[in-house]
Amino acid sequence: MSTIPICQSDAEILSNREIGPGLFWIDLLAPDITRHALPGHFVHLVVSDVSEDSSRQVWLRHTPLLRRPFSIAERDPDNGIFGLIYRIVGGGTEILATRRSGERVDVLGPLGRALEPLQSGRPAIMVAGGVGVAPFLSLAQETVRDGRARPEEMTVLFGAATAGLLSGEEKFRKLGLHVKLATDDGSTGYHGLVTSLLERELDRSPDGCAYLYACGPTPMMRRCQEIARDEGIAGQVSLEGIMPCGVGVCMACVVPCVEPGDRLSPHRYERVCDTGPVFDMQEVVL
């Protein structure tokens, strides 16, 4: 259980705009949450848009019922603002996309375990698939802000189905990171899987990666695990999971884990929301 204080905030939407096909960026004003958030943390949002005092039937206010988890993608601590990047995949994100600036959303956060900070002298690669880029936007931003590591020590390999879904890459470039893109349709960058791009990178500069971060679809992360294992690279993955509570009470979001260094040890179930979403690269069974 993390010791970061959790807040429940009635956050104001400052902007909510489409930045790619079905891809949105939302900025929320929530100073308490922003203050304590670290890269890798996520928030849990009530997306339904029927206002508090509106209907007599409370269940109308609660459609869809459950909160939706999103990784914090950017933080402006001076102004108490954080940003999320989200893709419309179902009813909840669909409704979220209709919310307007000035409206409010109920946010719980910051939640989960943060990413291992970057260290100067330990060049790192971040492999991002689609909206899996969110925690790495935070990580890059905070690392550069803190001066913990130099931008040149960070490489982002960012893959998506098509060019329009690579929104965010300009932010990495602006921070001075190496950015390489991959698309399934070849519309930009490398034509193929981002994990193939990773293999190519490791081949080209075997010393260019002392630490590997991965966040994206499960097959992508599974392949990253294999590559990291084969190459003997340490690292972390950031997972998703169905999260009714988001704070470690319901035991729904678990993932099977093994003991460090022992892939054949009996599985134990760890909560993605609380022990994770960030796990040691080889700890989780994907």
């Binding site: 259980m1 204080p5 959790i6 807040c7 429940q8 009530v46 007599r56 409370v58 269940w59 609660h62 459609t63 869809p64 019922l65 459950l66 909160r67 109920d106 719980l108 999971g241 169905i242 999260m243 009714p244 509570c245 988001g246 704070v247 470690g248 009470v249 319901c250 035991m251 729904a252 979001c253 678990v254 993932v255 099977p256 599985h267 134990r268 179930y269 609380d274």
Partner: protein, 316 residues
């Protein structure tokens, strides 16, 4: 909590400051939500079902959202009774609210072990028995058979003086019959209902959305089913009934009391609103104040059944 209507109710010897408890399995061990919610505004907390040993639970995925509800197949993952007493009780004991510890297990002996371990543990106000744990060997469920249900309560009755709350499953032909049998066996209260058996399938992959294939349905979707169960039970037993199922608001809670419940539990609602245990209680108080109800106890079983012109005959 503002001053106003009298919100206290009794569950056997256990007095609640208000009728709203957090339901088992949806509030962990209190400390998780206690980080940012004031638990002293809750009528009480029911902790996650405990088994004698730590229990790993079911394979993921363990939850799926459905229309106005959710499915879960946690499979009772819990720290086990020893770790509970050692690691969780010190925190729970300090909270100014009623503490009900939920007891589970496979065979009767496991319930007995958990109960014995809790017997000498200070700070517990009542035990809730999760009768819906299928016996690992036989696959049977205590609360689907009145004799087995009674047998379990009888076994625990002899080893603890704490109030025993029997928590029943709705997945039976006649829940009131089970309720009567556990009352006869010495239960001090009934909790109804646990989740409804349900399932969902991802048609793209053709796989069930739950790793355990089927699971339990909770949330607003099941409220009418829970209401009918509480109403039927309350008319057939003399011990208090705790209504559970889909309660999201103070008005929902009032509805259960009117139908016969003495107290309620909020389950899934806590995921949406972590302070639901307090806000539902506050909304009940507000509703009572606005409706000239001096005490929530005046609501219990106050349902007005209209005289029937014709005997009701068929469900549809």
């Amino acid at each position: 909590m503002k001053t106003g209507p009298d919100l206290t109710v009794n569950l056997g010897s256990c007095v609640l400051k208000n009728p709203v408890l957090a339901a088992s399995g949806t509030f962990g061990y209190g400390s998780e939500y206690g980080r940012f919610v004031d638990l002293s505004d809750f009528g009480g907390i029911v902790t996650k079902t405990l088994t004698p040993e730590p229990w790993p639970g079911n394979p993921p995925p363990r939850a799926a959202e459905t229309a106005a509800g959710m499915l879960n197949s946690i499979g009772l993952q819990n720290v086990g009774v020893d770790a509970f007493v050692r690691d969780k009780m010190p925190y729970l004991r300090e909270i100014d609210t009623a503490l009900i510890v939920n007891v589970g297990g496979g065979p009767v002996e496991e319930f007995v072990r958990v109960t014995e371990r809790l017997a000498d543990c200070e700070g517990i106000d009542a035990l809730e028995i999760n009768m819906s744990c299928p016996n690992v060997s036989g696959g049977m469920d205590f609360s689907t058979d009145p004799r087995r249900a009674a047998g379990l309560v009888t076994a625990l009755r002899t080893i603890t003086d704490l109030p025993i709350v029997a928590k029943l499953t709705p997945n039976v032909t006649d829940i009131a019959q089970i309720a009567r049998s556990v009352e006869d066996a010495g239960a001090d209260a009934i909790s109804a209902i646990n989740t409804l058996r349900g399932m969902a399938v991802d048609i793209r992959t053709r796989r069930p959305l739950l790793g355990a294939v089927t699971g339990g349905l909770s949330g607003p979707a099941i409220k009418p089913v829970a209401m009918a169960a509480v109403y039927r039970i309350a008319r057939q037993v003399d011990i208090p009934v705790i209504g559970i199922g889909g309660i999201m608001s103070g008005e929902d809670a009032v509805e259960f009391l009117v139908a016969g419940a003495t107290a309620v539990q909020v389950g899934t609602a806590s995921f949406v609103e972590p302070g639901a245990g307090a806000s539902v209680a506050q909304e009940m108080a507000d509703w009572c104040a606005a409706s000239d109800v001096q005490s929530v106890r005046d609501l219990i079983g106050s349902i007005q059944i209209p005289p029937q012109e014709d005997a009701p005959c068929h469900p549809s």
